[in-house]
Symmetry: C2
Subunit: 420 residues, 2 copies
Amino acid sequence: MSLNLSDKALNEPAARLMARCDALAEISSDPTSLSRFYLTPEHRRVNDQVAEWMQAAGLKTWEDAAGNLWGRCVAADPAANRTLVLGSHLDTVPNAGRYDGMLGVLTALSAVEQLQAAGVRLPFHIDIVGFGDEEGSRFGTTLLGSRAVAGTWQDAWWELTDAEGVSLHSAFEQFGLDPAKIGNAARSSEALLGYLELHIEQGPVLEQRNEPMGVVTAIAGARRYQIELTGYAGHAGTVPMAMRQDALVGAAEWILAVERAAKEFDVVATVGQCQAQPGGVNVIPGAVQLSLDIRSGDDRRRDEALESIRGSMARIEQARHLSSQWREIHNAPAVACADWWQQLQCAVLSELNLQPLCLMSGAGHDAMAMAEIADCAMYFVRCKGGVSHHPDEAIQQADLIPAIATMTQTLIRLAQRFTD
Amino acid sequence: MSLNLSDKALNEPAARLMARCDALAEISSDPTSLSRFYLTPEHRRVNDQVAEWMQAAGLKTWEDAAGNLWGRCVAADPAANRTLVLGSHLDTVPNAGRYDGMLGVLTALSAVEQLQAAGVRLPFHIDIVGFGDEEGSRFGTTLLGSRAVAGTWQDAWWELTDAEGVSLHSAFEQFGLDPAKIGNAARSSEALLGYLELHIEQGPVLEQRNEPMGVVTAIAGARRYQIELTGYAGHAGTVPMAMRQDALVGAAEWILAVERAAKEFDVVATVGQCQAQPGGVNVIPGAVQLSLDIRSGDDRRRDEALESIRGSMARIEQARHLSSQWREIHNAPAVACADWWQQLQCAVLSELNLQPLCLMSGAGHDAMAMAEIADCAMYFVRCKGGVSHHPDEAIQQADLIPAIATMTQTLIRLAQRFTD
């Protein structure tokens, strides 16, 4: 079983894939930017458009009980009892780029189109999914679509409301869905061969290494904190330096300690929020609001770095007569991609004369939710400057040739592995 | 010429002075806090109340063309051609304390009351002034009262407006003043023996040193900047530490450099504003808004420290691939208190068995404006925790005994110097 995955043969599929990303970018609640949220009229329109393309490729399509769009490429034996799920999400952040999510759904479709065109039939079904919510833009909670599929939906979510006060429960009904049937969206773990998601990197590593594709080893576990560091405000002219309890100078020392610890423990750690209070030009800061986001593919290393960072804060507090309060606002463990998947992916990349570059995903993805019910895998595609969640998000059409080739060849090698 | 300046003799004057501060604190535009602004009905009421006390002490009172209140204690020879000005301001910041400004006007009155009670006449007139605006709370520009007296009023100020859009020009008319006559408020330099202002320290030094009073050597010159430090925003999970251009980590390094330079050059320097942009928990800061306030009694030393601070920024920009923009928003030279005044003040403190503790004023005062037309001097009085511009601003009644004694004795020693 082999296909023509040459640049020449994939030029036109790559152009069509690029054009489909452009077409979906027109489906937005905002005429001047791309904003497409869960259970809105734009969600309906994007599902309808993608379903039309799926049907044109011979896929049977349906929407599940959570509004996720599915398209099935039936196995050689229609009674086959195993299914591979490919996909990503079709919703966006506000003022989004056009590849984050959509590229994964549409590249999966391109790969299936390659198989269909060549008359290749596989020993398992392929279900391509376009999740309705990954970003959490409308209801504040992420991964609603994939968590419904993973069977990890929580009843408490029904009370979540959007900016207009519409509950998730009402939004379901307005979209034509029955909240009571949410359980029907869950897929059975036994029937799943695995879950494979292609996504733009959202980081600069592939660009830096000059590689179009990479294999994801794990999705980082993240912990997040809101921190208030308190000192004593004072007059900027009248309090001598030695008598100050300047919360901002203490925060500055700690921010550098965060950077040092991240490098020492080989994790990523970010202070994204820093606001001095009261914030007068002529007032010594009495308090600073800070945030900390710390991630790693290895939870133990991440927690060791965190311990070091908290130790630094304690020393700074003592030396500068400050005090801090920490509130954990997020704590998610790392999700490892399946070893067998990574081996297969690396073999496919080598076979296609691409470097089998492995990297961690610092961002969250639907694969995190899907890992509850299936062995997961991800490919990353290079994006310009690592920019995402921004209209400047960009990819090169030329990179879609290896992307389609890799996805297609992965399906073929998986089929061989399955039948061996 | 000597007076009974014992604790016993001054107990009652100190209590009366405290009670007067309390009484003025009731004159406010806000029923729940002390807020008293220039050319308002509360300005009228505070002038009327202080004028009543001045008149009771035998002073001739008037309001000048800028709404400043004056009370004259006539010299032994009513035709004397030299005048000493004592005083401070009667306006406040919003939600103010009750001593900042008022204490200087009322302690001057207490000292004159001591002289009057003892029948002491001086060889010069004493004019006690209560300036109508020092804080700039209403029109944003400070020292309006004392700058009118110094003859440094600027015509451009007429267009200044308050929060309700009322111009300074209209406010003059509403207060019953004629803007065309503002020049009449200016006092002639030749006729002035000097200007002496008593004020709460607004800093913690006297409290730390356990002294009720201090002599001010200079009012610090201040330079202030708004600074934007720019890097490159990115995803907190996907950009490796080594590839970041994190503006906040650069800002942190610089904030510590500011502290080091302040200590090295013996100035005070404060970063009061620090706000990371865009400010997402999971976004690497692409920019930081910062402020810098740097002060010293010695302009040259201040500017050397500033040069060091700018050099640190340049090095950080280069090392971290950041760039900064600086905008100077304030630049005022230091104002030295007259040497002869400081000598006389120190002698008086020693004579009264007080430490002649000399300190710089980091805050601005009416004396800065008055220095244009008179040799200036200031006494500081200890205040609780160095707190000012806050309802918690506090002094001890016991400290008003040395305050009144010092002011009174200073007048007596000045008279001796004058007649020597």
